[in-house]
Amino acid sequence: MNLMEYQGKELFARVGIAVPRGRHCATAEDVARFIAANPGEWVVKAQVLVGGRGKAGGIKFASTPEEGRARANEILGLVIKNRQNPQGETVKSLLVEERLPIAKEAYCAITVDRATKKPAVMVSPFGGMDIEEVAEQHPESIAKFFVDTAIGYSPFIGRELAFTSKLDEGYRKAFPGVVAGIYDLFFRYGAKLVEINPLVLTRDGRVFASDAKVELDDDALFRNPEFAQWQKSLPLDEDETLAAAAGLGIRNFRRFDGLVGTMANGAGLAMATMDAVDNAGGKIANFLDIGGGANAELVRNCYELVVNHTNAKSFFINIFGGITRGDEVARGIVQALRETTSRKIPMVIRLTGNNEAEGRRILAQAGMTPVETMDEGAAAAVKLAGAAK
């Protein structure tokens, strides 16, 4: 789960990372009222998950309640898009925040590193810009530390990162506390990424997290029931909403513009199934990973999801039983076809692995014959969709 800036900053405050004074506002009136009560220089920031809001006009300054109202009205309702999210995201709320007298901007983040199997902390004195650009242009400026979890965070880590990355001296006193904070947040709230970009050093020597990017581990949300409320308030795109409604993980379903519907168990097999349709000269209508241990009801939901919400003209179901049992899937398919009131499209079923025999018996009883291989199934589905490239 990705958090909005204002949510990330709430967590920052809890772990002792200084954030600018501010208020989360849902309306332009809230913004005006807040500025009226707190005279000063303010920044009005669009609260969206999509990146690049600054260039898209989602960040503006205001010194008076009137300016605040005007800027808020300009930003609220904006649709902010980027390459990763071409549909875009509508701005529904704002963060009004103290405008900082910036002296320096740095970068600081923690994430997981698969290779070392450790949390990795990264620091660069080049903040306020895209870290991928920094990595290209100033690779030597990025200091990394892979934390031994048996030790945990210890202040020398912050010192070493500050010295190695040649962070401005003004940061040095506060910096170990900032790294302590993101490490604490990372474990306490189960984050997969915590990124502060920029970490601002003000002209009067204070250090603030001026932005907050936090990705929480969905698998760890059960430990913090308070996040359920946040989760509900976060924008899901259409595919994610459909996936959730069907009982799938929000990343288990995505639509494309082809005509061959697909469903497989396991992300690897689902991706290979897409590749197989592509290899057979077809175009997929969707990616759908039904996951492990799927039961008949979920299979039926997935059938309806593909049939009712994609352009699919044929449906290739590719199941290799492991923890997902072949008989359960077969039962789900038969039940789906029997119970559904949705349109019916031609199906190609490939079913093998654990409980394959029982699964095939159930399909045979219902008058369906599965194919033998994935390539064969993909070719048949492409043909049935009448959708050769």
Binding site: K118, M122, I131, E132, A135, K192, G268, D275, F287, N354
Partner: protein
């Protein structure tokens, strides 16, 4: 031989009385695996439907049975505890099937259990065909032989193995390393073991987009396994790009993770990359002929 698992491995199942645990325990027994018991706290002293003793703690199970391996089916919130318990009881190999384990739990466990090998989590397990199976792999598609297989995906592994078996290429050991951000045993860890295994004459590696495991495996192969016939496959070349807020992950791993980067790394290491799973047996046969192993 085979790696990680053989006929002499004594296996316990943590969560043996749960639905998944009990079902797959039966399948492992059917495959011939030496399952010596299971653990469910509070059910110590009971016997399973298949006649296996149930213990309250892993320590008791190890003391009573001499177990060397554990297969973990407990729900996600209890996985870290189960792994720590196995570690403290002296278990040498833990296969963790459970999906949905918090990544921080895995970080904590991996960082504090040096000396115990962990496969997974979120993996299908481990099989040394003809000897033993620990996990949930469908045994009947496997056949004993000399090809080592490692894969990040469960079902894709079965797909690939099925093709190998149909092509008459049996397997020494197949390892499903797991699909989570942090896993106990990576491709490189597997390669180190396969490199020293007398039964393994060739390797198949099924990677995926994302992360840098494949690039690191390619570098290891170039340095240490240049003579071994190896074929790779990269799943997800048509997958949608993930939505992510930050880019720290890509920077950490040196901007790896694209299919292009992975394919290039393998080709540089002299490892042919199959376009689709069904090409793997043919490419491997070709490499075996070229290297004179076959």
């Amino acid at each position: 031989m085979s790696i990680f698992l053989d006929k002499n491995s004594k296996v316990i199942v943590q969560g043996i009385t749960g639905a998944e645990g009990s079902y797959h325990t039966g399948r492992m027994l059917d495959y011939g695996t030496q399952i010596v018991g299971g653990v469910t706290p509070g059910k110590g002293g009971q016997t399973t439907g298949r006649g296996l003793p149930v213990f309250d703690t892993v320590k008791q199970a190890v003391e009573a049975t001499g177990a060397t391996h554990t297969c973990i089916f407990v729900p996600p919130p209890f996985v870290a505890d189960a792994l720590f318990e196995a570690y403290e009881a002296g278990i040498g190999m833990a296969v963790c099937i459970t999906e949905g384990v918090p990544v921080h739990d895995v970080l904590r466990v991996v960082g504090a259990t040096a000396g115990m090998r962990i496969i997974g989590p979120n993996c299908p397990g481990l099989i040394s065909p003809g000897k033993a199976s620990v996990g949930i792999m469908p045994g009947h598609v496997f056949q004993e032989g000399s090809v080592g297989v490692m894969s990040r995906s469960g079902t894709l592994t079965y797909e690939v193995v099925d093709l190998l078996t149909r092509a008459g290429m049996g397997q020494s050991t197949c390892v499903g390393v797991g699909g989570d951000p942090i896993i106990g045993t990576t491709f490189v860890d597997c390669l180190r073991e396969f490199a020293n295994d007398s039964q393994t004459k060739a390797l198949v590696l099924c990677g995926e987009i994302g992360g840098s495991d494949e690039e690191e495996a390619a570098a290891f192969i170039a340095a240490h396994l240049a003579a071994m016939p190896i074929v790779a496959f990269i799943g997800g070349r048509n997958a949608p790009p993930g939505k992510s807020l930050g880019h720290a992950g890509a920077i950490i791993s040196g901007a790896f993770g694209t299919p292009q980067s992975k394919i290039a790394a393998f080709q540089e290491a002299g490892v042919p990359v199959a376009d689709r799973p069904s090409e793997i047996p043919r490419l491997l046969a070709q490499r075996l002929r070229e290297t004179g192993v076959d």
